[in-house]
């Protein structure tokens, strides 16, 4: 059975026509990339899939059950979100921030135990953050903060990952490391969907792609099928040159 599925889903982007309803099927092991220009609704789609905002119409099903039939806590044990925006209004350390990923697994009176701490420490180590564990969030660079967000979801260890531009602010090495981490999650039986701006990361790491057009049109399928230069040029309104490196296409915007 698919991990996450949509049935005739229309996301609610204010002031936009309905466009094409989405019938997506995310199976365990798949890595989906969502591509589209600014304002196409990538973030809105991700939030709708996570049940954080209502769709205009249609349904999202997790493990075959509509999101409305899940309790929030139960949902959070299976589905994790890496947000693009974050609100660090109050002081908190890197370690505390990773540890909140265990929140859905703990009862109100329960204190984080050794196992919860071990998971958080492992997640921090996996994202090269162990040496920053005691640091305040406010003192981190953008890329470090981004990795902390990923560490929180890694601590949460969901079966479905919804990541909004997970490589934002990251240097080249950490971009590859994070894509590797997401691929690893998929190999271990997870389903991953990520919004990406970098076509080449998408071409390199995604098994499936969803192209979202600004007018609400959409198409989706296997990555090989979707990486047609003509479709991508229409998506971004930007002429592209295609090169081949290690048997994979590399897209370079033309001047």
């Amino acid at each position: 059975m698919e991990a996450l599925a949509t049935h005739r889903l229309l996301i609610d982007v204010p002031g936009r026509a309905d466009g094409r309803p989405l019938d997506l099927r995310l199976a365990p092991g798949e890595r989906w990339g969502v591509l589209g220009p600014n304002g196409a609704g990538k973030t809105t789609l991700l939030h709708t899939l996570a049940g954080l905002r209502p769709p205009r119409s249609g349904e999202v099903h997790l493990e075959g059950r509509a999101l409305s039939g899940w309790r929030r806590r139960e949902l959070a044990r299976r589905l994790g979100v890496v947000f693009q925006e974050r609100h660090d209004d109050f002081p908190a350390t890197v370690r505390e921030t990773a540890l909140i990923g265990r929140h859905p697994f703990l009862s109100p009176w329960q204190q984080e135990g050794p196992e919860d701490h071990a998971r958080a420490e492992a997640a921090l180590a996996r994202l090269d953050l162990s040496h920053l564990a005691e640091r305040e969030l406010a003192t981190l660079s953008g890329g470090e903060r981004q990795r902390v967000s990923l560490a929180t979801v890694l601590t949460q260890a969901p079966a479905v990952w919804l990541a909004d531009e997970p490589t934002n602010h990251l240097d080249l090495h950490h971009q590859v490391a994070v894509m590797g981490l997401l691929a690893e999650q998929a190999e271990a039986g997870g389903a991953v969907m990520m919004c990406l701006h970098d076509l080449n990361l998408a071409a390199r790491w995604c098994s499936h792609l969803l192209l979202l057009y600004p007018d609400g049109e959409a198409c989706w399928g296997s990555a090989e099928a979707m990486l047609a230069p003509a479709a991508l040029e229409r998506l971004y309104g930007q002429p592209l040159t295609t090169a081949w490196v290690d048997g994979a296409p590399v897209f370079v915007p033309r001047r």
Partner: protein, 328 residues
């Protein structure tokens, strides 16, 4: 691990605060028109000592000290909750117009010559009315954000401020001192301390199990929802609870500003933002601050008394600014 053990796992700051709370209460019992030595104070509390001292401590000073402690505890806890609710370290019930609504209702009650008990009741009703207006208007046609709630509250508070000034301007001169005292807070008419203490204890029982959930909510509504928090019901709970705490505090001692804003913020600079520690710490520190402030208010220029709100501001502003300056 149980919640109680969770507190015991990091006991130091809370233990120190509890000790300081006892000391501040003892100090407030010992000081006054007649100073009582520590040894005599112990004897009085054990049911011995001079009869005069017995009356002074047990019947006059103890109820007032406990009322001050309870009121401060409520205000600080309400402030801490409002700050998480609005994801804004500068929020407190006063900023949100709650005390303004209470003050207007209380002043109207005083003007119409109602007794002290009815003034208290009017303040309570005024605070809750203001709560409902702010929450109802901020809710609007569906979009409800912390920023919008904060803005609605600030504007309501400004409106209440204008009404208060109007009421003071048209009031007979002989009523003005009482009204001003009420506006700056005064524990002289606090009455029985048990309502505030009971509400403070109950509130602590309600919020302690919410501690970790509030930590997650402080990271933003979406992040909290993604981690399994039912955000909207939790926000209603916080708002109603904080409003209730403020209303009870205002009813007991008038409108005392600053405690709800300052105490949680000062503690956050020292203890971090883990609500499981910050909330009980706020409760204790708020109680300590107001107990000491009230002791000063009735001893500084004795036999005259000062409004306690003046003291909380005079004590609080410099120490707050110092801590803020010292922090990164």
């Amino acid at each position: 691990m149980s919640g109680a053990r969770a507190l015991l796992a990091r006991p130091a700051p809370l233990a120190w605060l509890a000790l300081a709370a006892l000391l501040s209460l003892a100090l407030s019992l010992a000081l006054g028109s007649v100073a009582i030595a520590p040894g005599e104070l112990m004897r009085v509390l054990l049911g011995e000592g001079e009869a005069l001292h017995q009356t002074l401590v047990l019947e006059l000073r103890l109820p007032r000290s406990l009322a001050a402690f309870g009121t401060g505890a409520l205000l600080a806890l309400a402030g801490a909750l409002m700050q998480v609710l609005l994801r804004n370290p500068l929020a407190d019930p006063y900023v949100l117009g709650l005390s303004g609504g209470a003050s207007v209702a209380a002043l109207v009650a005083m003007l119409t010559g109602l007794g002290a008990a009815l003034v208290g009741g009017a303040a309570f009703a005024g605070a809750l009315t203001s709560t409902l207006i702010v929450f109802g208007l901020a809710h609007g046609t569906g979009s409800w954000t912390p920023t919008r709630l904060l803005l609605t509250g600030v504007v309501m508070a400004a409106g209440w401020g204008a009404v208060i000034t109007f009421l003071l301007a048209v009031s007979p001169v002989e009523r003005l001192p009482g009204m001003l005292y009420w506006l700056m807070g005064d524990l002289a008419y606090a009455g029985s301390p048990w309502p505030v203490l009971a509400v403070a204890a109950l509130a602590l029982v309600v919020v302690l199990p919410l501690g970790r959930t509030l930590n997650v909510l402080a990271r933003g509504g979406l992040q909290a929802a993604a981690l399994g928090v039912s955000v909207r019901p939790l926000e209603w709970t916080l708002y109603l609870l904080a409003s209730l705490l403020t209303a009870v505090a205002v009813t007991t001692a008038g409108s005392i500003g600053f405690v709800g804003l300052m105490v949680p913020h000062m503690l956050r600079l020292r203890l971090g933002n883990d609500q499981r520690r910050l909330l009980p710490a706020s409760l204790l520190a708020g109680g300590i601050l107001l107990t000491l402030a009230d002791t000063l208010a009735r001893t500084l220029i004795a036999p005259q008394q000062l409004p306690v709100g003046v003291i909380t501001a005079l004590l609080g502003v410099p120490s707050f600014l110092y801590l803020l300056y010292r922090s990164r």
